[in-house]
Amino acid sequence: MIIDAHTHLYGRWLNLRGIKPRDFVRIMDETGIDKACVFTLEGFFDARGTNDTLAALAKGFEGRLYPWATVDPNMGDIAVKDLRRAVLKLGMRGLKIHPWLQAFSLTNSYFLKVVEETIRLNIPIITHNGSPPYACPTQVGNLAKKFPEAKLILAEAGLKDLWLDAVAVGKKYPNVYLCPAASPFSAVLEMVRSVPIEKLVFGTDLGFSQKEEVLLEMEKIRRLPLTEADREKIFSGNITKLVDFET
């Protein structure tokens, strides 16, 4: 079983067009991905309505595509309402944020209300990171310390420049998980050496990236010196403990 914990379904970002649902699932079939957590692509620029759009796009692909919500913390209480509706009415499985593109700090009091709501709803947050000034692993670590009940996933796991920070917070905070999409191979090797294997989840950024990147990310995990049992944890076991794929 392979679950992709980090993808973006169809939408637009400047001149980048995402991948339409049918083509998206075809790529999953061709690369051997069973299920995917799908996020918005354009909702980082205008979050209102984005959850309805994403839910509609994923309709008809139940059992393969699992949409996650995105809200705009700058909207204050509206963001909390949007999140509750996305989870309770639209059935969304988690919260995806991109603090750099959405222009908010992880210490912002409006955002902290959103975090509290994710705890009440028992859903994880996956956040873009590796990009200063708003998306650094240590900022997520700070959030993890404030909210030990929050489940926080570092998408990209610090990217190329801040992966050492991702390893540090992954080791330190029990509620921080790493999704090393686009991380250097040597960084992923260090992650499996020094971070508990249960903290690592597989992701590809498909939708922002393409089929070729999916193949490369899979190859990266397959080349790690791991037992098959541990590889299976990264490919699917760990994310199933954070996300409800059953209902």
Partner: protein, 238 residues
């Protein structure tokens, strides 16, 4: 197809592993340079180590040198020494060595590169020291020096990469870390002749980086990326 790795690095004891990886991957040659502590502070030891590897394996390696610009005149003297040992290019690491690409601190090393006809590979991408447009400024300041944007400028300043390349006829780009979905449009907008394969071994994986080039669409001239373009960056036979 002839394959040359335009960016591999050595830590102490790293020669054997690199050669094995090259043999497994079918890479005939590699441009090698000192990594990590060698690049940051132990420049002399790093240059000597790389030069020894080149002397032992002249058919497999071309060697680049390092010198922290903070050493001033001593840095230039170290590059002169490295040239005497057979090294033939310069690698700079702004984030690791602690300087910004527009800082005149680096100019004495660039003056040396110009005098020696040495190409300059730059670890590029990290804010605030080594962003693509900062490298373009340096390349325009030294139009007779050939520069390489290492790591493809990965990651968050990718929008600046095409303008940087197109502004500077003396600037090439090395392909480690960047994605196929980035390389393809950049080849269209900047021309294939700018692109040079590099693995950043051992920090990325040579076989994975080569697989990436293989996954590029058929319209892209892989032969150019895997060796032909590097020859123009290196200049006279080395």
């Amino acid at each position: 197809m002839k394959t040359i790795d335009g960016n591999a690095t050595l830590e102490r004891g790293g020669v054997k592993a690199l050669l094995e990886e090259m043999d497994r991957s079918g890479a005939e040659r590699a441009v090698i340079g000192p990594a990590r502590n060698f690049a940051a502070v132990d420049n002399r030891a790093g240059n000597s180590y790389v030069a020894a590897a080149v002397r032992r394996h002249p058919d497999r390696f071309t060697g680049f040198a390092v010198a922290s610009p903070w050493y001033g005149k001593k840095a230039v003297a170290e590059l002169e020494r490295a040239r005497g040992l057979g090294l033939s290019g310069l690698k700079i690491f702004p984030a690791l060595q602690g300087f910004i690409l527009t800082d005149p601190l680096i100019f004495p090393l660039m003056d040396f590169a110009e005098r020696a006809d040495w190409p300059v590979w730059c670890a590029a991408g990290a804010p605030i020291a080594a962003m693509p447009l900062q490298l373009a400024e340096l390349a325009e300041t030294y139009p007779r020096v050939r520069f390489m944007m290492g790591y493809g400028g990965f990651c968050d300043f990718w929008y600046d990469v095409p303008d940087s390349l197109n502004r500077c006829p003396n600037l090439w780009i090395e392909t480690s870390y960047i994605h196929p979905c980035q390389i393809t449009p950049w080849v269209e907008s900047c021309g294939i002749s700018k692109f040079v394969f590099g693995s950043d071994h051992p920090f990325s994986s040579l076989p994975l980086e080569l697989k990436k080039i293989g996954l590029l669409n058929d319209s892209i001239d892989k032969r150019a990326i895997l060796g032909e373009n590097l020859a123009r960056f290196l200049g006279r036979p080395r």
